[in-house]
Subunit: 291 residues, 2 copies
Amino acid sequence: MVDGEMRPLVDATVSVVGLGLMGGSLAGSLRGRCRTVIGVDRDRRVTDAALEQGFVDQVSPILEEAAATSDIIILATPVRTILRLLGEIGPWLRSGALVMDLGSTKAEILAAMEALPAHVQPLGGHPMCGKEISGIGAADVGLFRGRTFILSPLSRTSTGALRLGEELVRAVGATPLVIDGERQDYLVGTLSHLPYLLACALVSTADATTSSDPLAWQIVAGGFRDTSRVAGSDVTMMVDILTTNREEVVRAARRCEAQLGRLIRLVEEGDEVQLRETLAYLRETRKEMFP
Amino acid sequence: MVDGEMRPLVDATVSVVGLGLMGGSLAGSLRGRCRTVIGVDRDRRVTDAALEQGFVDQVSPILEEAAATSDIIILATPVRTILRLLGEIGPWLRSGALVMDLGSTKAEILAAMEALPAHVQPLGGHPMCGKEISGIGAADVGLFRGRTFILSPLSRTSTGALRLGEELVRAVGATPLVIDGERQDYLVGTLSHLPYLLACALVSTADATTSSDPLAWQIVAGGFRDTSRVAGSDVTMMVDILTTNREEVVRAARRCEAQLGRLIRLVEEGDEVQLRETLAYLRETRKEMFP
């Protein structure tokens, strides 16, 4: 192929590295839309399950081997495993290979991608979906359908590589959205990582108080269930996210702490006009967020 | 009838006062399971809609008239309207009538019920369900199905009245759970009202920061949507709830503020062992809450 030209998705061999919820779902959604999907995971039970569920054409426990035969390599592990793999994978990659990831935070990943050999094409990726259950057993080929899939190119990323990334995103039913890494980390700090901390704080509060009442879990309703849902997220994934987006997460959470404090004071002081006005504004604001 | 004996539900005329989400749904679920359902609402458009949707057998804009012919009166308005109505309704009630409510907070309601004439039977009620949309248009006869419906009897409430309340709860597909008012207010302060404040704090934080980025709402995912859902709750309902359960709500929210602060510090300080342990514990705790 001409230098810089990428093999079209339909002819590409794609390795998905890490067959958990995200990787398994992506592999399954890509299968049949490219030449071959190789599932890479060290855990034999996981690769067996991926084969059994028809998510992959082939499996391999060895990234080096899979990388050597792949046009596209997608790292779908927790963020800090992505960082480690990016440090190792360089020598194994084919010239012109597209290297993507599915990590929720981008600053450190894009820095590690920057250090990849010049003959490969790096592209950050972050699909805006998830579940509070993890693992290949939770994988679902419909997971990406209708969702936004952030793509964060580096300055070294070619237009052809970005186009191929967009083609891949559309192939799994998602909508590509190009955002630079810094901006994406800022946005997801508030829109994705902060909700996780709030859900955890809620579960923690209930655990410390009402959980001792045997009736508590008979009366818990949809509000608590929904507000706490993401506290069930995979812990390794979340520790990696919070650690690699620490600054933005802490900033967003401190802001939210202040907002919560303000709301508590409104309730406490009984300034009803102000309370009603504030809550009405927030109700409208949320409506605009989800019309 | 013998004194203290209640007319069975199937023979009862039931007035539902306030045909919003909760009242409309309850009326619709009761219709056909009692002699007559009367929908009481001052708003003609609301009573018209209730008739049109088949939620009620009759409607009346005048509580005094409806109360005079009813065996069961269920107050399904915001809490402070319930309090006002309880102060007015006494003289209009039939001897032996069962007076219930659907309010989320119980302390003030049960105190107002205590003051009802001795010849009527008061019973606090709180169905553990809701939606972030309100009004008769959101009413749904399946709303109570499979849900817990708290009943809080007063010491003056007869066993027969409590049994009739339980029969009514089962008739709409819910499971009755008898809890005294103080304990229910404590539990829902953490399990229901606190999630609302957290959802509001989250929306407020996003509004103050990321909302100015036009891409924010393209990337917002299920986590934010679920964690913020109850911020869309009806404002009048919530102001009444927060105001009449102020002490418990503030206490629960202050506890949660402290838990959030603890989590933020764990992220900030980078004590990863402690962070992982805490998040893993909370994940397990939530799993136990919703097995």
